[in-house]
């Protein structure tokens, strides 16, 4: 599993904590509150390290185990921090039959990381995703909010260079 516990120390701020508690207050008491709270928390911190899960468990007055089992069940929740640039390659069927598997392999090779990991400098993170819904542009990858469609392996160097790779 790529979703292992990170070794990068937690750097949450007071402001983030306040924001988190505010979000929890909105949902607390509602049935089914945990998933929306985790989604808000991931928006605030970018990921869900042990420390954040613990705060949520305490605030919602549920066990840490309940929080952890939900976090590790859903693909959306990440125990690993995000990179400065988050690369997401679509491995949905439409993209796969048009060669997105090769693109993903090449990126793993170039960046030296595997699915769900960050480069050691924290700059790039690579994820495989299932369909961004832009099947007409297949194969597709996104880097933060930029979408790259009709990709070929030869374009990767040029695209990565735009984000300062190899410098």
């Amino acid at each position: 599993m790529a979703n292992t516990i990170t070794k990068i120390p937690f750097k949450g701020t007071k402001e983030q904590q306040e924001e988190l508690f505010k979000a929890i207050d909105v949902y607390a008491g509602q049935s089914g509150a945990l998933i929306p709270v985790l989604q808000e928390a991931q928006k605030i911190y970018g990921y869900l390290p042990y420390e954040v899960q613990k705060m949520i468990a305490e605030k919602l007055q549920i066990s840490m185990e309940k929080v952890y089992e939900v976090v590790t069940f859903y693909a959306q929740f990440s125990l690993q921090p995000l990179g400065e640039y988050n690369i997401s390659v679509c491995l949905g069927t439409a993209c796969y039959v048009k060669g997105s598997g090769n693109i993903f392999d090449k990126l793993q090779e170039k960046l030296g990381i595997k699915n769900g990991e960050c480069t050691p400098d924290g700059k790039f993170r690579l994820d495989a995703c299932r369909c961004v819904g832009a099947c007409g542009l297949a194969p597709v990858m996104t880097i933060n909010d930029d979408v790259y469609g009709r990709l070929t392996v030869d374009q990767l160097d040029g695209i990565l260079a735009k984000y300062g790779f190899g410098k």
Binding site: V132, G133, A134, C135, G136, L137, G149
Partner: protein, 123 residues
């Protein structure tokens, strides 16, 4: 909503802005702004049309609205022009620059820019 009459009154009031009736000089421009359209660059196209329509002083005559996906992914961004009593014109693979020309020649001048239409881009 209290009654069907109330609903029908809203429908009758708005209907003509969505389906331009025969003989009206109003023009409705729709831009496909679903995920696929946006990924293909439809937002700048939408903004360009709004700006150009404003600049050309066509604000009263032309309404520019966003819409969902009409299904022709590989032709995105897609812009369609609806005029009263006419078959709609479908512009494909649009850019902000192309949009300027469409506003100038079609919306203002009344002459569709044939080379940007789906008919000219089928092959």
């Amino acid at each position: 909503m209290k009654s069907l009459e109330e609903l029908n009154a809203i429908r009758d009031k708005v209907r003509d802005t969505v389906v331009i009736p025969d003989g009206s000089d109003k023009i409705r421009v729709v831009v496909g702004l679903a995920t696929c359209g946006i990924a293909a660059g439809a937002k700048p196209v939408f903004n360009a049309i709004v700006d150009e329509v404003e600049k050309a002083g066509l604000g009263d005559k032309v309404s520019v609205v966003q819409t969902g996906c009409i299904g022709i992914c590989q032709f995105e961004p897609v812009v369609e022009v609806f005029e009263g009593g006419k078959e709609k014109t479908t512009y494909v693979k649009m850019t902000a620059e192309k949009a300027q020309r469409v506003v100038e020649e079609h919306l203002k001048g009344g002459k569709p820019v044939v080379e940007y239409t789906i008919g000219a881009n089928l092959n």
